[in-house]
Amino acid sequence: MLSYEAAAVWFCGQGDLEAVRSLLGDVPAIGKKRSSGFGAIRPDSLDIEETSLALAGLVFADGTPARAVPVATWKAVGGGDAELASEAAVPPYWQGVRETCAVPSHLIVDREQAGRLTGLD
């Protein structure tokens, strides 16, 4: 397991914004080893903004996969060349059946890159 001393975590997605905000509003920590103190969230640091990104949560703004997307779905949404791997595409991911997916190539980003990939800039 790798631990990262990061300042922030970014996600993008598409769905019920208020439900997502209410779920994430009081989350104390995320990631693995939460009960041991890893992944603690700063209080009142949740920031959610609407974007205009098409297929948010599936495809980043630069056309790369935003998550593990099955190849059939990836082709259906018009995805281009991407790295492929055998992954579980539906939760619970520790239990799911693995299939060939297009997987993201971004994990560590700077501020400009994060804004550009999630469609904020």
Partner: protein, 197 residues
């Protein structure tokens, strides 16, 4: 695809994060729903994200402004009393509180052996109406009511237990008790036999 809105989320971190293999938004939301609902199937079905086919529209985490990344490995565990401390290559931190279950005795399991003085004493009536343990044990041997039970008149009440012990020790097994000799105590169906000579 539904007409839900697209959004970007930023969460500031106070401590290092271990994202695992892939840390995706739908997994995070389903985990939070599972904590509230306690039902894994509902937690997955009620993720408030759009779906494209079977795929939820939630991205993988993007880690912003990394300072360091280290491989987390648990080096050793220090246990002191009820406290347990993990010492890793990054820090020493407390584990969850725990306690050791005390060893279970035969009486706590409910394994009450017959014709043992301690067992009969534990099965004796307690409290103001029951009197002392010794008198309760005597009452079991004396029968349902003092002076009126099947043992009445055969042994003095204070000699009843001694007579039973002597029979067990020197005269072989006791004869089979009849229904007047059996007392059922508690909810576990434990039968204490007050042997009638």
């Amino acid at each position: 695809m539904s007409s839900d809105v697209a959004f970007a989320i930023r969460l500031e971190l106070a401590t290092p994060i271990i994202p695992g293999r892939r840390f995706m938004l739908d997994a995070l939301l389903s985990g939070l729903l599972f904590e509230r609902l306690g039902d894994a199937a509902r937690a997955v079905a009620e993720i408030p994200l759009s779906r494209h086919g079977q795929t939820w529209c939630g991205s993988q985490a993007l880690l912003y402004r990394i300072r360091t990344s280290q491989r987390f490995s648990e080096i050793r565990t220090i246990t002191k009393g009820y406290a347990r401390i993990f010492v890793s290559n990054q820090a020493a931190f407390c584990a969850r509180r725990y306690y050791q279950r005390p060893p279970r005795t035969p009486l706590s399991i409910g394994r009450i052996l017959t014709l043992r003085p301690t067992n009969k004493m534990c099965a004796s009536p307690r409290g103001p109406a029951g009197g002392s343990l010794r008198s309760g044990a005597r009452r079991l041997h004396d029968g349902p009511a003092a002076g009126e039970g099947p043992c009445a008149g055969q042994y003095p009440p204070d000699r009843a237990w001694r007579q039973v012990s002597q029979r067990r020790d020197h005269e072989g097994p006791l004869p089979e008790p009849d229904e007047h000799d059996a007392l059922v105590r508690g909810g576990r169906g434990v039968v204490l036999r007050a042997g009638r000579p």
